[in-house]
């Protein structure tokens, strides 16, 4: 899969009706040296990442660091307040007592990790309210699985080759989809 610097506008869309067929098709197509633009599915297909050549996401690593930020923030703010800015005598107890701070520190760790991760997830996946996505085929959120191939700079021989290989993999339908500009309204 490639992340093209220039946005592609013309695509071939191959549709499949079962996840196992999709996985076999990806293997077959990649073995023929054809580059797959993307795969679309109505639910996460297990085992698709290595077959498609996707690198593992680093989202969970980001989550760890967001959590660490939460822990540090909680401990330093509580320390500043309880020890320095507002030391208050409660039955002669120490101004700074770690065990009492564990609950709040834990909650803030979880809060920072979750909010940070979800924010990163939305940014990286390009998701926001009102975003108008490119829909290759409406049925990919219902019952079909799709493989897309960018063909803007492909010769007609290349295109024919993609179509014939798609045919070999038992694709249900092979369609061509062209987007007029990047802000295609919902179709």
């Amino acid at each position: 899969m490639s992340v093209a610097a220039v946005e592609n506008n013309k695509f071939i869309v191959g549709l499949y009706d079962h996840e196992e067929k999709l996985l076999k098709a990806i293997k077959h197509i990649r073995s023929k040296g054809i580059e797959i633009h993307d795969a679309l599915s109505p639910f996460p297909v297990h085992g698709i990442d290595p077959i498609l050549g996707l690198k593992d996401t680093r989202l969970h690593t980001a989550g760890f660091f967001f959590g660490l930020t939460g822990t540090t923030t909680a401990l330093s703010v509580i320390t500043f307040i309880s020890k320095f800015n507002y030391p208050i005598i409660i039955g002669g107890k120490p101004f700074w007592s770690l065990p009492a701070y564990i609950p709040v520190t834990f909650e803030l760790t979880v809060l920072f990790a979750s909010v940070g991760m979800v924010t990163t997830y939305l940014i990286r996946n390009k998701l926001w309210p009102g975003r108008v996505p490119r829909i290759f085929d409406k049925r990919t959120t219902d019952n079909l699985f799709a493989l897309t191939f960018a063909i803007d700079d492909k010769s007609s021989a290349d295109i024919d080759k993609i179509k014939s290989v798609l045919g070999e993999t038992g694709a249900l339908e092979i369609n061509t989809k062209e987007f007029k500009d990047s802000d295609e309204p919902l179709n």
Binding site: K27, H46, I81, P103
Partner: protein
């Protein structure tokens, strides 16, 4: 690609002719067309009750907390009882979505969406009580530590009540994020089959423009897994901290180290009962018996009988430890709890929480819709009494016998409680009508292994002869995947 599942395991998606589009149809149908009559009647009732609750909130703010039945001795009663009850109910949602995800329990997919929605609405209802108990609700933000002009004046980080502020607000935020991140793909499904432009626009906004590329799904799964991992200790911490509100005090009957696990078990117990109540209503109104099956009910009832028994052990432990402590005041607190003026509440609690769920040891009853519903109501009642018993019986006879008192609720107390039930059901019914009430994508993801149609093919003995001959050219490492391929290659 573990699409093979033992035929002994019961199918989680019923129906002879199910496939991916039928799943979409069955679940999305509830958000289209006119709502069923049963929904409209339920909504009218719920919203009327909610309005009365809102009126009681206004009345409380207008007149002051004095309109509640609190007195000098029992200065904490229905408000905190309701708070703990609602928070506890909320816990089942997180447990189902997070803990069962970590344990890879496939039956989770049929009910997790609604259970998570229930969590959020329950936390909303719970939050109302402490906020309105403050009296001057417009100053509620004082509970957060923020730099202010009142000199160096900060909240007390040693107080469990402050821990509660952090726990509940974190819990609400994380539950909402978890729930919504799962909803986006399903909103996209509704968008892509919408007929009108307005509907398309609304559901596109709700879906955040989801399309379902391989990379999106990869990040989706990573996010779900980490959020589940974070929510699991979170949910335990929240009710632990709620129990600290009592356990760190010096009131006999509250000052016990057993409270954290006992509260957590009680929370799961009451929450599963509420999920059971809601799912039985939802599957009936929206005809979802194929997705919320008797297998789901049975699994839920198993959790209910387990947690109910844990709660029962906790009750008995408290009594035994009080006796064993040899400490007169502790002994009296528990004697008074079980046999004092609130004996009726203690008996109700014991009957509903400990004795009645034991019938779930019988498979017939576990799988019966009628008994599941009836007992889920019993458990909800019982768990409300548990909190009432803990809170009021410990307070009403305090250290000075001259100030011993009996708590009687006023109509405002009752109105607020019933009102939050109305708010809860109003929100839930709106959710069930406009949102996909079952996680569409997640149900589809277990289809190949757990649907009745897929399983019937698996158990076909003829398939076995093909497994070996096929596995050489199949190239798939997993036996199971090859086994499955055969069925689809025939088409």
């Amino acid at each position: 690609m573990s699409t093979y599942e033992s035929p002994i395991r019961e199918a989680l998606i019923k129906g002879e002719d199910t496939n991916y589009s039928k799943i979409t149809d069955d679940i999305v149908r509830n958000t289209e067309g006119t709502p069923p009559m049963a929904w409209m009647i339920a909504f009218a009732l719920a919203s009327a009750t909610a309005l009365f609750g809102v009126f009681c909130l206004f009345y409380t703010v207008w007149k002051g907390i004095g309109v509640w039945g609190l007195n000098k001795t029992v200065d904490w009663a229905w408000d905190i009882t309701n708070f703990v009850w609602w928070i506890g109910i909320g816990h089942a949602g997180t447990l189902i979505s997070a803990v069962l995800l970590l344990f890879r329990q496939k039956w989770r997919t049929g009910i997790n969406r609604a259970a998570e929605a229930m969590t959020i609405f329950a936390v909303v209802c719970a939050g109302l009580f402490p906020v309105f108990h403050m009296g001057r609700v417009w100053m509620a933000f004082f509970i957060f530590p923020y730099p202010n002009t009142r000199g160096p004046l900060w909240v007390n980080f040693n107080s469990p009540l402050l821990w509660d502020v952090f726990a509940i607000s974190t819990y609400f935020t994380v539950s909402l994020l978890f729930w919504y991140s799962g909803l986006m793909p399903d909103f996209a499904t509704i968008r892509d089959r919408a007929k009108t432009a307005r509907r398309k626009m609304i559901y596109n906004i709700l879906s955040f423009g989801w399309v379902g590329t391989a990379k999106q799904w990869q990040r989706f799964e990573s996010l779900s897994l980490v959020l589940a991992g974070l929510s699991t200790p979170l949910v335990l911490s929240v009710h632990t901290i709620v129990s600290f509100d009592f356990a760190t005090s010096v009131v006999p009957g509250w000052h016990t180290t057993i409270f954290p696990p006992y509260f957590v078990a009680g929370a799961i117990f009451s929450g599963f009962a509420m999920v059971q109540t809601l799912m039985l209503i939802t599957r009936k109104i929206f005809n979802l018996q194929n997705y919320i099956t008797t297998a789901h009910l049975e699994s839920m009832n198993k959790v209910i009988v387990l947690t109910g028994s844990i709660v029962g052990v906790a009750y008995i432990t408290e009594l035994v430890i009080a006796w064993y402590s040899g400490y007169l005041y502790e002994q009296y607190a528990f004697y008074n709890r079980a046999l004092g003026p609130y004996k009726w509440a203690y008996i109700s609690m014991m009957t509903c929480n400990v004795i009645s769920p034991q019938v779930f040891w019988f498979k017939k009853i576990r799988r019966s819709v009628f008994y599941s519903f009836l007992l889920s109501i019993f458990v909800n009642i019982g768990m409300w009494f548990e909190r009432f018993v803990i809170i009021v019986t410990s307070l009403h006879r305090d250290f000075l016998p001259s100030s011993w008192n009996y708590f009687t609720p006023t109509w405002v107390d009752a109105g607020l409680y019933v009102g939050t039930i109305g708010i809860f059901f109003t929100l839930f019914l709106l959710f069930a009508r406009t949102f996909p009430v079952i996680a569409i994508a997640e149900v589809k993801s277990i289809f190949s292994s757990s649907a009745e149609t897929a399983k019937s093919k698996m158990s076909d003995p003829q398939d076995f002869s093909d497994v070996h001959s096929h596995s050489h050219d199949g190239g798939h490492g997993a036996h199971a995947a090859v086994h499955h391929d055969k069925n689809f290659n025939e088409q």
